[in-house]
Symmetry: C2
Subunit: 376 residues, 2 copies
């Protein structure tokens, strides 16, 4: 298997998720944990059931706190380096699902400083503008505004920096070099940055004076930040956060993670129906065969098909229907063109509504920012 | 000569000031520059005349701007790791003298984050409290409040951090390792910090929208920060700041820099008359001889005497009288006890008034902080 590399800023090669779990030291989400959540929440989200969220840290502890009606909170975030694409929605969708069931306050961090430090060609004005675009996508998913608090790093620096300095004092260059692969050529903003990403874990206690159990749903590439934060925060009087890690939403070209570096293999939430159609019809790979005849005879291979993954991650919530689709594909009863067309229709139906909600929110998006008038 | 080492956080060994100038790459303040200042300002401060401020960067450029009535500003600061001692006053006194003559707005930075990062045993609450104590000393020197703007790093983080990130993106770990001697064990706050110290250079333009020529009077140990900042700021659309560097105020024990690590060799602005008397009578070294008889015969050595240095730096503004004192000492006409007693009296006279002013300012010191109501 080809070598892979996963850091919060880079996913390279074909990811071996089991190996990644061992490297990062996260725990698998066992069937027992899934059943506990099903019982607690009355149902199980497909992203959990299908093990697209597949590892965690201290999830049982967080569920204990929820069950005992202790104070809990949610935290997730977005690095605003580009417009939102469909893959970004994965952790947000699960976060909303958990918020709906637990009524937990959610801190949603937009890291304009981070993306400025790590993207050579972006100005801080760029990343800030992108953050506001991304906020529209988050809000459009239907989070409970009263319980959802947007944090924009440069906007909230007066609140965040004095907390980040406490974290920063406890982290050495050796640590960020080992954990994130930073080196002598890294800029000092990149080196400092992980302290800023730890801060939203501190906010529930900082703002209310009371201990909270914080759960962070995230792509597993972000785990290194919280591995470090979990080490530091107890020494500062805060609970270790619990973590819930998703696999990466695949690109239309089949590589491990949808990414801005190849926009043609990426569906943005702002894409027009024509763009969606073009990308999926013209660009997407499938698990199909060379000819229709061959496919009818041999069947397709959903397990290696990006189109099938799109159904699995987001566009077929009904697990029975998803299985039927896989079986029909394997049996050669459904061809790639048909499967693609149906996905195009589903994506465009989703995006039409999403884009409408997005634009409706544009004028009032500032109200989602944490402020004296909008505080847990 | 014993090896010495000067960084913004450590002065070790006997400092060779000429060598330091060459190492740092600063320019000597020539007689020509001194005469230009005498002409521009009508007189010359003893700290300049006696070459206790001895090197600079781009001072002529700053004076050009002043002369052409272009926009100028002053910037200096204080790392609040302890109560103020007399040595800290040196750059502040010269800064006030320049402000009085040029009417330049002054940005005075109190770096509570820095001292938290660099002092293992200080909490951020400690450094913040010390910053407010230090502010009293600055204000008590009689700065023009209308033109003097205190910056406290954690308090003003909302303003400072978004500017610091711009600086931070342009500085690598290699640079801070080479310039400041930071290493793998340095914490990531220490590594980031120099970006925060660059920000007050940006503030005059940031707050008014207009280019300013900024002059920074400072102890020469702080020069490395501005060597880096001078490299970065033009790339961000800001002028390089000019710098003016002082030698270190000596300790009563004769070592190069008064320091908190030996409080008995340090006169704090909060010391009682008895403490001043005890430290100078019981602890201070002198350039005197073993016996009064010997001293009357051989004379004392003002050039190696810490007590004489105190007169030279601060407590004998009249250069003619200073020379008379040195001559009387060399001729054995004045003994150390007498010289010490007179210094005790002068210091205590100064401190009595200073402490009175300090306490009067306590209730209103917040008004000196940069704010919407207190802005250039």
């Amino acid at each position: 298997m080809e070598k892979f590399r996963v850091t919060p800023w880079e996913v390279k090669g074909e990811v071996d998720y089991d190996k990644l779990m061992r490297e990062f030291g996260t725990e698998p989400i066992t069937q027992g944990l899934l059943e506990r959540m099903r019982k607690l929440f009355g149902e199980l989200h497909p992203l959990l059931e299908r093990k697209l969220f597949y590892t965690h840290r201290d999830l049982s502890w967080w569920l204990d706190n929820y069950e005992k009606k202790k104070l809990i909170a949610l935290y997730t975030g977005r690095g605003p380096s580009e417009n939102t694409h469909i893959g970004h929605l994965i952790p947000w969708i699960l976060t909303k699902w958990i918020q709906d069931r637990t009524n937990a306050p959610l801190f949603f961090q937009f890291t304009d400083d981070e993306k400025y430090f790590f993207k050579e060609n972006l100005s801080i004005e760029d990343t800030k503008r992108l953050a506001f675009e991304n906020m529209l996508d988050v809000a459009a998913l239907g989070f409970d505004k009263k319980k959802t608090f947007f944090i924009l790093d440069t906007h909230h620096a007066g609140l965040l920096y004095p907390l980040a300095v406490r974290v920063a004092k406890k982290i050495t260059f050796s640590t960020v070099r080992a954990v994130f692969g930073l080196n002598n050529s890294s800029n000092i903003g990149q080196i400092f940055y992980t302290a800023m990403q730890a801060v939203p874990v501190m906010l529930p206690k900082h703002l209310t004076g009371k201990d909270h159990a914080v759960l962070i749903p995230m792509g597993i590439d972000q785990d290194p930040h919280f591995r470090v934060a979990r080490d530091v925060l107890p020494r500062l009087g805060y609970n270790k956060p619990a973590c819930l890690h998703s696999k990466f939403f695949p690109s239309l070209m089949g590589s491990s993670k949808m990414s801005a570096s190849s926009p043609d293999s990426t569906i943005y939430t702002t894409d027009t129906p024509k763009e969606v159609e073009r990308k999926i019809k013209k660009k997407a790979l499938t698990g199909g065969r060379d000819t229709a005849e061959e496919q009818r005879k041999l069947g397709g291979r959903p397990e290696i098909c990006p189109i099938y993954q799109y159904y699995m991650y987001l566009f077929e919530p009904d697990s029975k229907k998803l299985e039927e689709r896989a079986n029909a594909c394997r049996a050669g009863k459904i061809l790639c063109g048909e499967c693609k067309q149906e996905l195009i229709d589903r994506i465009n139906k989703f995006l039409e509504k999403h884009q409408e909600k997005r634009e409706k929110l544009r004028d009032s998006i500032n109200e989602w920012l944490l402020s004296e008038d909008h505080m847990p």
